[in-house]
Symmetry: C2
Subunit: 152 residues, 2 copies
Amino acid sequence: MEPIDPVTARAWLATALAEARTRLEEGGIPIGAALYGADGNLLGRGHNRRVQDGDPSAHAETAAFRAAGRQRSYRGTTMVTTLSPCWYCSGLVRQFGISRVVIGEAATFRGGHDWLAAHGVEIVLLDDPECAATMREFVARHPRLWSEDIGD
Amino acid sequence: MEPIDPVTARAWLATALAEARTRLEEGGIPIGAALYGADGNLLGRGHNRRVQDGDPSAHAETAAFRAAGRQRSYRGTTMVTTLSPCWYCSGLVRQFGISRVVIGEAATFRGGHDWLAAHGVEIVLLDDPECAATMREFVARHPRLWSEDIGD
């Protein structure tokens, strides 16, 4: 697989960030994700839906994975997420052989992306200030909800 | 947390196996799971729904977790599953701090349960012949569907 170019990585992150940002208005958890195919087409996008659906299994990455529907293979696909993936979402990436993860930021929460890198997943960490600011604002306002979402 | 007694472990596995077994008739993937609370009450049960719902995110364990709804804490809870949990479901257990996993069998598929044990999760492996026979029959009949479900 060719390395992703920075312009494409930023454009894909914008999709995930758009999923995240409107969630604050809904009272939800502002984490967004999108799954892109090996050909660069968007397969699915989603956001955390713990609050909106009362569904603790709907993290951003699993929601995007679900929205993409059944796929024969995830070889060459890229999961783009505004935040470093937790163990649940890291496990998803490893189990299904998603090839690459583009991460908005890992400053507010550090999940399993080093573990994924050690198991051959290409990790692109963008250190995006807008993603970090969105999460920081959310965690400051709703610390209990954030703890609940990561099983803390 | 006290160790689980064998009679309770078998009784809980029967709930997961009941979820699994009827799935063969629906053309689905016969893996079932249930989440029990620290007090021994059933919080949620579920089964793999890839075929029935076209939902690749609905593994048995994540379906049971979802059915249990939002919980403030998973301390003391037990995930019971007919089959060793894949990385996706193992990640779920680790992230949310589920305390124990009771596993029907790990002969037909070995997931991440050693990793969970290394991270402090109590693992009870029952080597149940009925769970193993159910999976063996399914894998023999539907090898491609099984490969799809574990991202092979």
